[in-house]
Symmetry: C2
Amino acid sequence: MYDLMNGIGNHEVLIATPHHGPDAFIKDLSQIEKLTGVIIKRMRELKKDQRLKYVLIFKNHGKAAGGGNIPHEHLQLIATPVTPKRVKEELVGSKRYFEYKDRCVFCDMIIQELDQKERVFLEIDNFLAINPYCSRFPFETWILPRKHSCDFDTMSKNEIKSFSRVFQSTMRGMIKTLGNFPYNIILHTSPFRRRKKKGYWETIENDYHWHIEIMPRLTQVAGFEWGSGFYINPTPPEQACAYLKETEKSE
Amino acid sequence: MYDLMNGIGNHEVLIATPHHGPDAFIKDLSQIEKLTGVIIKRMRELKKDQRLKYVLIFKNHGKAAGGGNIPHEHLQLIATPVTPKRVKEELVGSKRYFEYKDRCVFCDMIIQELDQKERVFLEIDNFLAINPYCSRFPFETWILPRKHSCDFDTMSKNEIKSFSRVFQSTMRGMIKTLGNFPYNIILHTSPFRRRKKKGYWETIENDYHWHIEIMPRLTQVAGFEWGSGFYINPTPPEQACAYLKETEKSE
């Protein structure tokens, strides 16, 4: 009934910058480009290990976000022999939407956000930073490529440059608005596709669209959220976005 | 495709005790019995409102658990016009297990725990407190009735007395071991069943088994947990249980 999970995997720490200190990581564009390159390199390398199904890239910053006491900026990579539960849920949801609409849900979100404008924080080249409709958290921000693609690790050199610029500008803007705020960053990308399986595997290239979720941890996740899977967010995304844009313009 | 949600519901604060202070709630057994009675009364009352589908009862204690700055012990009740996502997931999981085994998954867990003993913290009358197999959090503790029942609000007077005793002893033991620790308590019970619907509705009386989850918030939920839905728990439940029992015996 259930897949048995092997006790194998990888856990790697990716050091974000040679410079010590809380902002060093965001200041240097070329360093963000390098780091993106390293992530892609590690993903491609780990893909060769047939036992692994997913590479989860994340960053915890600040105590409230589980960032611990290591002030030198770093990311983490955990490779698992199964596709994680939350990743599967998103893949299944994306597949259902595609079946219903014959379009990618993320492409549709991008069209809607560009049309309504009030939740688009930044637009640089072919990348967007948005405060998504019905955000779970105050100032939750997603970065998405406009070009449909399910794999983070297929970005071209030029795309890496644009992505790094939008990432830097987004983080800078958020820090300018929120100060040295606690956050989790999670890369949402496709699992390794070993062979065509049923379900979300068959159509993943159409259904899914990689993106980055930046989750400020300004409010506590408590009993209601745990018990329901619903989130109480006191800051509507439209308001968060207006605030980010306003601060951006100011000196 | 999706249910539209009405903007209605109830949010109630249940004051746990007339006495001020962090432990007042746990000290007085008759107060726990009264409080249990009040919860049941409110659930039965809210069931009459046909627009409501679920009553979530929870308690946040301590800053790390979203407990805020109200030192007077209280619980919260949130009634929703939909069955919450997490509740549905548990109902669907329970249904699947029943279809596979022809037995309730929680009844099976109880049999297994009583057989293996190493994760049973307390057994009082017909109630158990266990540190469940593969707990997500250090010292996670569940309270379950041995008698199969899907609804918290169908307890008899005697059952309320036994439940209150096991709840008090469990909380006392945990406080003795962990000090004034941050925690979330969540009551897992069935949604209101208005009419027979397909899916988990048809078989809920067989599939589901109410219980209480006490989740100490000693570790941070960070990027890995958010991105994967998996939990890193440094304290195996067997060890937590041994520790709780040991402290229990000591003076």
